[in-house]
């Protein structure tokens, strides 16, 4: 008979979990909060709210499971519930359209043949940051989770509450959108169709 959902930690255990399993992720968490809100003050508030929630609900955390994914999920949910409403986020992405895009033959065409490795290496300013920030938050999120934080499909599916297939298609679409943005910057920088 196993208690699957909750346990009751002692005060010592709580402190130990918080200090040793939650706090080491605070910089990754702040970076995620900043990339979601795009505002330093909001990012601070979001981070603080998330850690306080994590402590309050620590009994729902199972030791030995992935603390980082658990924390990222809380942060993402807090962002959606408390921050996204406030911000003037444009209309949500039409996932129907995204899914049909993924399933279409268009997927395999080279979308940005003019973007080259050498061009990227010349982007020493804020181009990449601006390109990432310009993506819709749902696309921005999967890039951060996969490319910066190294989460796997199943972890991202849990963090975002979406099926693994949707994680895959969203990531694929996000990478192409990011390349399109970078390509625009490259053109502005004066690189002709190379």
């Amino acid at each position: 008979m196993e208690e699957m959902t909750k346990q009751r930690y002692s005060d010592g255990e709580r402190t130990s979990i918080f200090d040793n399993e939650f706090m080491p992720h605070i910089n990754s968490m702040y970076n995620f909060a900043y990339r979601l809100t795009l505002d330093e003050d909001d990012a601070k508030d979001l981070l603080q709210d998330t850690y306080l929630k994590a402590y309050r609900f620590i009994d729902s955390f199972q030791q030995g499971t992935n603390a980082k994914a658990w924390l990222f999920r809380i942060l993402k949910n807090s962002f959606i519930n408390d921050y996204r409403k406030k911000s003037k986020e444009p209309s949500k992405v039409d996932y129907q359209e995204v899914e049909s895009y993924y399933n279409s033959e268009d997927v395999d065409r080279q979308i940005t043949p003019d973007l080259r490795v050498e061009t990227l290496q010349d982007m020493i300013g804020d181009e990449i940051s601006n390109a990432l920030n310009a993506l819709d938050v749902d696309f921005r999120t999967v890039i951060i989770l996969c490319d910066l934080e190294g989460f796997k499909y199943d972890e991202m599916a849990k963090i975002l509450d979406i099926p693994i297939g949707t994680v895959r298609s969203r990531l694929h679409r996000a990478r192409n959108l990011l390349k399109e943005k970078l390509s625009e910057y490259a053109k502005k920088m004066g690189y002709k169709n190379a």
């Binding site: 080279q110 996969c146 990531l171």
Partner: protein, 87 residues
């Protein structure tokens, strides 16, 4: 391990290698698949070669420019204080 899309084999070679490239970029390919891709496939498939290197260059940029927002020390102290006062 079962491969996900065995049922739909439309354009085998083209689709398969781009699918594999995606799994590699997403960190989901097995060690054997990676070995095969890097040691055999990449040398002979120009679209994969170009896309792979382009994506890696983008990732390097992302890591160096977008992953460096460290939580302010004051904020960390504040969180620690709030937690210990609530204990």
């Amino acid at each position: 391990m079962s491969s996900p899309d065995q049922s739909q084999q439309k354009n085998p070679t083209k689709v398969d290698c781009l699918d594999m490239l995606r799994l590699i970029l997403d960190g989901e390919a097995s060690p054997e698949e990676k070995k095969n891709f890097f040691e055999k496939h990449l040398d002979t498939c120009m679209p994969c070669y170009r896309t792979y290197h382009l994506e890696m260059a983008i990732r390097d940029l992302l890591k160096s420019k977008c992953g460096n927002h460290e939580a302010p020390a004051e904020l960390i102290d504040n969180i620690k204080k709030m937690i210990s006062s609530g204990r």
